[in-house]
């Protein structure tokens, strides 16, 4: 994919040549992400989930479109808005929901919570809470792939505001020098918390990688099919030794920055949010295309939605019934190797 190439869904075929089966698979997963996080909202409201909780609602096209084309052994790493990306990488909704509930059976044993979902078996290398902190980590995974001569790919998600962290630049330089198989994905939802990107940057997202000669591209993340095809291309090139890529995925956050923040406010108007939610919902857009192509009926949709809701209900039930972590968990996993000699813990408490 050439630098700067823009791949909006101007494709002649609105279904981008996907088979009906593939299309329904994509739709089903998109519905899962949406219903899953709608339940998360409810559970948060009644105090079953705590801490900072950042919803991906409205941005699901980025998760499905960028991760769908990956192999099971490709690495994905993200920031703290990662629930749906974890699901897209194949993690069990039960494990993710239980993690949000802070229970045994949670993906990270209840120790990580919303911002730290990990699924090593699915090569989902975590949700990370320090803005930009996951970027050098992704670069290291890319290094490991090169070091071992594997043909894996690493996809690193970050938000638009993360591009102003020095960590990104140090990483892009190293990825360029060593030609690492990493796709740096900027989910550009227009805002870092309450700050519009244009207020804290003099240039466009894609300009950032020019400094390192890393090709950049832009795709409309609200069009999951376009995004999917675009990433199929990128992943192929990077897997075959094309070196790093910097991909901007244009999207929009339908909810507040986190559960404790208002959906709209001083930084974006109620009208703006309503309009975008109305016109730019990646699921609605996909559904309409399928309707028009008569690849889907209202009945199919309702049936599918019912199944997905049931799946999410199971996840909630599982999480709800899962016990809290044992007290003995407190000191477990601080170190993976408790040295035979010497003291590792200094709080003088019993363990």
């Amino acid at each position: 994919m050439e630098s700067g190439t823009v791949a909006f869904s101007v494709d002649r075929d609105p279904l981008f040549g996907f088979s009906r089966e593939d299309l329904l698979g994509i739709l089903r997963r998109m519905l899962l992400y949406r219903r899953f996080e709608e339940k998360v909202e409810e559970s948060y409201a009644i105090g079953k989930i705590g801490g900072f909780c950042h919803l991906h609602i409205g941005q699901e096209g980025a998760a499905e479109g960028c991760i769908g084309p990956l192999r099971a052994d490709d690495y994905v790493i993200s920031a703290y808005r990662e629930h749906t990306q974890a699901l897209a990488k194949g993690m069990d909704p039960k494990a993710v929901m239980a993690e949000l509930y802070g229970r045994t059976g949670g993906a990270s044993g209840g120790k990580g919570g919303s911002m730290h979902i990990f699924g090593a078996d699915q090569s989902f290398m975590g949700g990370h809470g320090i803005v930009g902190g996951q970027v050098p980590l992704a670069t290291g995974m890319g290094w490991a792939i090169k070091y071992r001569g594997e043909d894996r790919v690493t996809v690193c998600f970050m938000g638009d505001a993360a591009v102003n962290q020095g960590a990104l630049h140090e990483s892009l330089n190293m990825a360029a020098v060593w030609q690492l198989p990493v796709i740096y994905v900027v989910e550009n939802n227009g805002y870092g918390m309450g700050t519009a990107f244009s207020r804290i940057s003099a240039t466009e997202i894609g300009d950032r990688s020019k400094a390192y000669g890393i090709p950049a591209s832009v795709v409309n993340g609200q069009d999951v099919l376009a995004t999917y095809r675009h990433f199929e291309g990128l992943v192929g090139e990077v897997r075959s030794g094309g070196g790093p890529h910097f991909a901007e995925v244009r999207t929009y956050r339908f909810r507040g920055h986190s559960m404790s923040d208002p959906v709209s406010g001083t930084y974006r108007s109620k009208e703006e949010v309503e309009e975008r939610t109305e016109q730019d919902d990646p699921i609605t857009i996909l559904v309409h295309r399928l309707f028009q192509a008569e690849a889907l009926t209202q009945e199919d949709l309702e049936a599918m939605d019912g199944e997905v809701r049931a799946q999410v209900a199971d996840a909630v039930a599982f999480a709800d019934e899962a016990p809290l972590p044992e007290a003995s968990e407190l000191y477990k996993h601080v170190y993976s190797q408790i040295n035979e000699h010497g003291r590792l813990f200094f709080d003088g408490r019993d363990r």
Partner: protein
């Protein structure tokens, strides 16, 4: 005296000092249009404009260093870290630039600035967002460290910190922003280095700072019911440190418990215990005990988090142990 929140007290201090001195400006993430992630800077953008209340990109190292550079030429920046956890990215500028500039320049260039924001844990924010990093700031000479526990102290100490001619790390607490208390209006400045005996006891000294002061008071209440009266000494600033007040309390009670939110290894309590056993060895009737966070990264799960944090019960138990009860 009007009763206001800790948040409002900080806001008052900022507004009054910016009013008083044109060289004071506030910069940080979300401080302007958003009124601050925790609304501490509410209304300041409207009052002072976007050159004095500035939304920064998410570039902690960059804007902290920008603040130090501005201070080098005489401005008095107040740099807000959304939380001190993120300040770890900026420590090079805090430690290598702000704290050493005056010394390296042989006294030519002082750094009159404040780094402020919440430190420590809130509720279920997990490992990366729940750290009390006082030790990292107080370890290095050249910086001052202030940790207000009440609305009145928040206002009085922030005004003093902004007026101080050296870099000050001003550490607040997310869980403190909503607490209410009486705060003098207008000119209310509390000098750094003066601890406050928040409760007068006599049987045992609980020495603490910041958020933990309230836990100590709760523990003292429990102890009182059981017939033991505790001194609760709020250090208010860790550097300068009111060593005299600490020694005076321990000379009276001969027993001390150090309480802090952070980790134990080389924590603030370690310094105080080491200092007191050295300077008041013969006054101690029992070893000095410390109550800290469990020596683990903060877990997310509610029950584990509660276990990890210092509790009033642990303070009570520690006090009884030094009282040999």
């Amino acid at each position: 005296m009007p009763e206001i929140t800790y948040r409002e007290a900080l806001n008052q201090a900022l507004a009054e000092e910016m009013e008083r001195d044109d060289s004071v400006f506030l910069m940080g993430e979300e401080v302007a249009e958003y009124d601050g992630a925790y609304k501490v800077s509410k209304g300041l953008l409207g009052q002072f404009g976007d050159l004095r209340v500035v939304d920064s990109p998410i570039s902690e190292l960059g804007f902290a260093g920008l603040g130090v550079g501005a201070a080098m030429v005489g401005l008095r920046p107040v740099i807000e870290f959304m939380t001190f956890n993120f300040s770890v990215l900026a420590l090079d500028q805090v430690l290598h630039s702000a704290a050493k500039m005056l010394y390296m320049s042989g006294g030519q260039i002082n750094i009159p600035m404040v780094f402020r924001g919440p430190t420590g844990a809130a509720l279920q924010l997990a490992a990366q967002h729940s750290q009390a990093l006082e030790t990292w700031y107080v370890h290095a000479p050249g910086i001052k460290v202030v940790t207000p526990a009440t609305p009145a102290d928040a206002k009085g100490l922030l005004k003093a910190s902004i007026r101080d001619n050296d870099p000050v790390a001003f550490m607040e607490g997310e869980l403190l922003y909503n607490i209410r208390g009486e705060v003098p209006e207008g000119e209310h400045v509390i000098p750094l280095g003066v601890a406050d005996l928040k409760r007068e006891g006599g049987d045992v000294s609980i020495v603490t700072h910041g958020k933990m002061v309230h836990l100590a008071l709760r523990a003292a209440g429990v102890l009182s019911k059981e017939g033991f009266e505790a001194d609760v000494l709020d250090l208010r600033s860790l550097r300068p440190l009111d060593a005299d007040a600490i020694l005076a309390s321990v000379r009276k009670t001969n027993r001390m418990v150090c309480l802090e939110e952070g980790w134990p290894y080389s924590g603030v309590g370690a310094q105080i215990a080491a200092m007191v056993q050295e300077e008041a060895f013969d006054d101690l009737d029992a070893p000095i005990l410390r109550v800290t966070q469990a020596d683990v990264p903060m877990p997310y799960a509610k029950n584990l988090e509660i276990m990890a944090k210092p509790s009033a019960q642990r303070v009570v138990d520690a006090c009884k142990r030094v009282l040999y009860r």
